[in-house]
Symmetry: C2
């Protein structure tokens, strides 16, 4: 592999000059620049990014942590981040946390030890205190889909409370009052906030929150299945069901069908996230849109702005969910 030294020799200039032409913005006369460029061409020179990193203390890499690599939600998020960063010549190092506190911490250590210029985290198990401490470190930290008090500037978050509210009012507007709710794991802030929004909507319409119509699921298909089983066994009737994410809604829908319950005629179902296959289920799922791909883009922009000196980028820290009306809600009025 040709080095900067070979290039300097062939071009008849010094190391420094070669370095100057690689790192753009430095001032080099057009003539020498061309000589150097030609020499590089001849030698097939490629700068060694490792050496660059060591000398400049910049790796041009940003670490990403997601809960899972699969799943439509994280896929979109990563796609948004990668696209933006790649266009800026940065690369992403991806690792997973599996919603487990130790794995999340391990992964973060891993990313930091890799000298990432910044890390973008979608973490669920780790505490706010841990994150606050983490942000005091040398590596800039940005949080996706999570809001931590005092870390406002580092967060890109969705107004989950509003989402929960929107889902519930959509149902109430159609005449539903007996509304069941399958939430996600309570250690996840998303799940808690969505539930809070749900309760606010109920309260605003003087509907009591009924514990018999409440089930804690796992944010996966199984949670929906187990949830609807549980709710039906409770013998408390309900005409609508809110699932705190689309996977659970899909599970509930499938199991409802197996029980002979017709959606939406017998039971309305509404999901959350608007993941790609919410359009594929039958009936097509009414849900709350979670613009996770946009949020991914924004997280990347935040990094570009703060870490890589792109000061002109406009940052939006908070995103709003919206109702996507499809076919899984029945109008009782």
């Amino acid at each position: 592999m040709a080095t900067i030294y070979d290039v300097s020799k062939l071009a008849g200039v010094s190391l420094a000059t070669v370095s100057r032409v690689t790192s753009k913005n430095a001032r080099v006369s057009d003539k020498t620049r061309q000589k150097v460029l030609d020499a590089m061409e001849d030698l097939g020179y490629r700068p060694n990014s490792i050496a660059q990193s060591l000398a400049s203390n910049r790796t041009n890499s940003v670490g990403i942590m997601v809960s899972e690599l699969h799943g439509p939600f994280f896929g979109l998020m990563m796609a948004g981040i990668e696209k933006e960063l790649r266009a800026a010549g940065k690369h992403v190092i991806i690792t997973t946390g599996h919603s487990d506190e130790n794995k999340e911490k391990d992964g973060i250590d891993f990313l930091i030890s890799r000298n990432c210029d910044a890390i973008i985290l979608h973490v669920e198990a780790v505490t706010d205190e841990y994150l606050i401490e983490l942000c005091k470190g040398k590596t800039p930290v940005y949080l996706m889909s999570r809001y931590v008090d005092g870390l406002d500037e580092n967060c890109i978050s969705l107004d989950n409370e509003l989402g929960g509210y929107l889902a519930t009012t959509a149902l109430i507007d159609k005449g539903h009052t007996d509304i069941a709710y399958i939430t996600g794991p309570q250690f996840k802030g998303d799940a808690r906030d969505r539930l809070t929004g749900h309760k606010r909507a109920l309260a605003e319409h003087d509907i009591l929150f009924n514990n018999d119509l409440y089930y804690i699921g796992d944010f996966r298909e199984t949670g929906g299945i187990e949830g609807i089983k549980y709710l039906i066994n409770n013998k408390k009737s309900f005409t609508a069901l809110i699932c705190a994410n689309d996977e659970m809604a899909a599970g509930a829908m499938i199991h409802a069908r197996e029980l002979g319950i017709t959606v939406p005629d017998d039971l309305s179902i509404i999901g959350f996230d608007n993941i790609i296959f919410s359009r594929y289920v039958f009936p097509k799922l009414t849900t709350i849109n979670n613009p996770i791909d946009e949020m991914g883009h924004m997280a990347a922009k935040l990094v570009l702005k703060n870490v890589y000196q792109h000061p002109d980028l406009l940052i939006k820290h908070s995103f709003e969910p919206s109702l996507i009306t499809r076919d899984s809600v029945f109008n009782l009025k």
Copy 2:
């Protein structure tokens, strides 16, 4: 940040000795090792991976290229790769090719310029010749879901021909003879091979391949929708439809329903890949399993074996698809 030098000073040993204790397998007396370990502890020393890379010419990173970051298929693939590599202390740098020749080449250049110890590619647009040339380079290259003649040892592939054959015989076994086929983009080897298998099955049962029952889709939902529209307009009747992947099958299924066609009673549909939401559609999709997560694991093992000296790993280069029977195929017999 404490450096190896600080540690050596505090422990009263030389740089070399400190380096020896970090890089395990070297022989150091227990006593000095302990001194060094204590010093590291005291200083909160963390080796600088960039410096290690520069000196050792090893980055402990492997580059991954997928067509898309989202989508259930690539998600599972990446999950398989990352899990295996992460357990070995290696990390993944991920980039996308978007099934576009130039983007794929760019991405590969990018990964190589990043000094990855190896790259694992899921590429579709680039030619075999290009890949053969690429493999002559310094960076080891491994191919996912693609078989290139002469690169046998670097490929992890699925027997797509067999998959196409299985799908078709499954239908024929149920009494279907008028079978429509929606394929994927013909520059993709997967799509071609699946089609070849389809034709072999037809031929074995003396069924003629009918061009009026053939449509080239895009491997996405829209391909299924457009495909079924086209096929129905052709006015050539068919009782079964094979889609060369599940996304198209989902699209076809949805559109069939909108046209008042009942699946499977009026029309049997079979997909390919067994992506997660093939279980969520209604009726549940009969499909061909593509063990892409296992293949991801295997690709990672191949890298560990060949690049990172884990000689004891067993490698399987070719994977077999299998029929997953669900509810979307009608028995005509």
